[in-house]
Symmetry: C2
Subunit: 435 residues, 2 copies
């Protein structure tokens, strides 16, 4: 029995996918049952590192998603359009879909999964988060019997590379960013990575799976790493922390009522204690830590991007769909662990309600009494401090670092608003949360 | 639709399993479809932390595995018998089986999976390796499309606890073992753990999944941690290593021929470079590192034992079987990623053929020329050395540590045989491999 795929896109991930399928030796025998029926490309003449029969290549991508011979459409185009429309068209034509497209799923997951459930097809997306790391499947199939309480991930390799390099070299963000761009670890326009938007797409997907509800991307509080200075990294290290861009989704408690529960879903640079499992994840690697009852902590670690790892995830999804089809023929009911069963939207708490520890760095005039007036301001707003230390000077300005106990973010922000109005305060270059 | 399970055993894992099933809130909706039909126990009168209807409890375990109402038999008895016989009986009666029993699967996996394939039933065993860590499922479903080249695991929490504590305190093996026994981390008879037998069971199972062939347990070279001294840990640290009990399964290359390929499957204490992902796994935690093409390195980390994590793995297997049954009704063909498809035995290379780096510690008389004669002996046997250092004294004896380059283990062992005959050599307290 052979399963025919229509591959949309033959860039690095598409090429990696085709290469796995062309070399089945040493892999699961199911890989041999997957046939590349059509590959949609922009240009037929472009030189390619992979050899495919000429009749397989086509520029007619619509022809692929409507081709009655195609069982599974594999979308590795990236970007929002035409990826979204082609996925929806494929579903409408009864095709199962495998995609690596986090941007499309995090924005249009609701319409895509609604359409897929109506059409009785699967949409799998292991490659959309964590590259090759198996995390979507384990969340669906192994961890779903737990009451998941949190997911905390380093899910963007570019920012983790930059922060790791800033830590090891002491260099500034902009210098390391340029270097990462030269090495191909960061894009010419690095916004999606360094401003946390890519991580927000991914935590939206993970939160949706872990907590069984849809997530509105715009509800996710998102901060990037541009504000992280070499001074912050150095001082964090002294305090026993490393700074990581974390994507967090959390629920505080499992309640046995039908009352709607609020989730936290957020992306921000965070001081992580050096003994924490996520602290040692360095360079372009990704890791996702899942906590739940009764399992406790489990972590998945691996390459978060790259042609090979991402193609591994894509092909595993293809094979998983083929295996279910082989077992069930034309299922009347979709496999309940592979399909998306939830339809409601999760309620996400406003960031002001978050209770967390904070780290903040201030530049102030070098006057006596400044530390006292900062402390007084925080006290007035119910912000209890763990430490307030003058760490040095930047030019004429004194550098003061504050670390709080657990405080309500709204209270902390109000205190900062008042502090900004103080004569002695020049600026607040960085405000980071502490794990 | 409800799926009825017959639970064999109500110890810590059995109780944990029942607790998850009794509290479905906040878990995957499939958990609600699992019904505890019968629970086999030794005594009906024993006080228990869980409340079950009296008609569910029975001492007639044979009655459970032959009960026509039972869909899935869950074996959490542990030990070889009656676990093995009950599993086989359950299969003969058309039941699917979920087991946490690494000892039975590593020894009798061949007859169990042959019987299961004949009967058209599934035997799942996520809980047998790594406690709650999803690793069996990802190997079957996500990573199988890769050409797996190696699996390297810290799969025994007891020994990892002991080695971690030896490292942090500088204490001797026997002292930490007593402490671990008092804390319940080590059994009164610690043989299975500290001599590496438990790890051998687990790597047999992982190797079988990763390389698609059966593994004979007696082919696995197995060394425990009794030989690891405080002196080794201290000197390893100076060299930039930590000592871990690793379970390793490896194939050197993927060849496109039908020639039989030799695997390495072995368990031994190992010097692991501190920057290696496995080096930071401490205490009772487990981690399994999988390497393959094109995925590169992925690692799974979590609690390797305990009632809650193990029960999480057991229930995930139950739910996975139920989900496939729901989709396929009575399948004519078993799901090819969940069933065991291989039947041949893997060829395992003798340990003498291994090429690796070695660390060895010698106690010798404090004579001039000893280092020279050690060096000469190694040279004669083709063993190229990286360093040979007198690290100190133990009483009157000089302590000398040798680290080799990559050498054939057989050559190294022959050199050691000759070295043992030297007048100046008192003993060789430890011989460790270097990752």
């Amino acid at each position: 029995m052979a399963f025919k795929i229509g591959l949309l896109g033959l860039g690095t991930v598409g090429t990696g996918t085709a290469q796995i399928l062309q070399q089945p030796t040493g892999r699961h025998p199911m890989v041999q049952e997957i046939v590349i029926h059509k590959v949609g490309v922009r240009s037929l003449d472009k030189p390619r590192s992979i050899s495919l029969p000429p009749e397989v290549l086509t520029t007619d991508v619509e022809g692929i998603v409507t081709d009655p011979a195609v069982d599974i459409v594999v979308e590795v185009l990236g970007g929002l359009e035409p990826a979204r429309s082609l996925i929806l068209q494929a579903i409408a034509h009864g095709k199962h879909v495998v995609t690596a497209n986090k941007a499309v799923i995090s924005r249009y997951g609701d319409e895509i999964f609604t359409a897929a459930n109506q059409a009785g097809v699967y949409v799998l997306l292991e490659a959309a988060v964590g590259g090759g790391i198996p995390v979507i499947q384990p969340l669906k199939q192994s961890l779903g019997v737990n009451q998941i309480t949190s997911i905390t991930g380093i899910v963007n390799g570019t920012t983790n590379y930059i922060l790791t390099k800033m830590q090891s070299t002491g260099a500034a963000f902009t210098d390391i960013l340029s270097e990462a761009q030269q090495l191909g670890y960061a894009e010419a326009d690095p916004t999606a990575d360094v401003d946390g938007l890519d991580a927000a797409d991914k935590i939206a997907i993970l939160a949706s799976l872990a907590f069984g509800g849809r997530i509105k991307l715009q509800d996710i509080h998102c901060e990037g790493i541009r504000q992280v200075g070499a001074a912050d990294i150095a001082y964090a290290e002294k305090l026993g922390f490393v700074i990581k861009l974390l994507a967090v989704a959390k629920r505080e408690s499992i309640v046995d009522t039908s009352e709607e529960e609020m989730l936290q879903v957020r992306v921000h640079p965070t001081l992580v204690p050096t003994a924490h499992p996520l602290a040692s994840i360095s360079g372009v690697y990704n890791a996702i830590l899942v906590e739940g009852e009764p399992i406790g902590q489990v972590m998945f670690f691996g390459p978060g991007a790259g042609a090979g790892p991402t193609a591994s995830a894509v092909v595993s999804d293809i094979v998983n769909i083929a295996a279910v089809l082989k077992t069930s023929g034309s299922p009347e009911e979709l496999h309940p662990l592979l399909s998306c069963t939830h339809q409601h939207y999760c309620a996400i708490a406003p960031i002001g309600e978050l209770v967390t520890r904070f780290y903040a760095r201030f530049l102030t005039k070098d006057h006596p009494g400044v530390i006292g007036s900062l402390g007084t301001c925080f006290g007035k707003h119910n912000v209890s401090l763990e430490s307030i230390v003058q760490t040095g000077f930047q030019g004429d300005l004194a550098e003061i670092v504050v670390v709080t106990h657990d405080v309500r973010e709204g209270d902390f922000r109000q205190a900062l608003e008042q502090i900004r109005t103080l004569d002695a305060v020049d600026s607040i270059p960085s405000i980071l949360r502490v794990l």
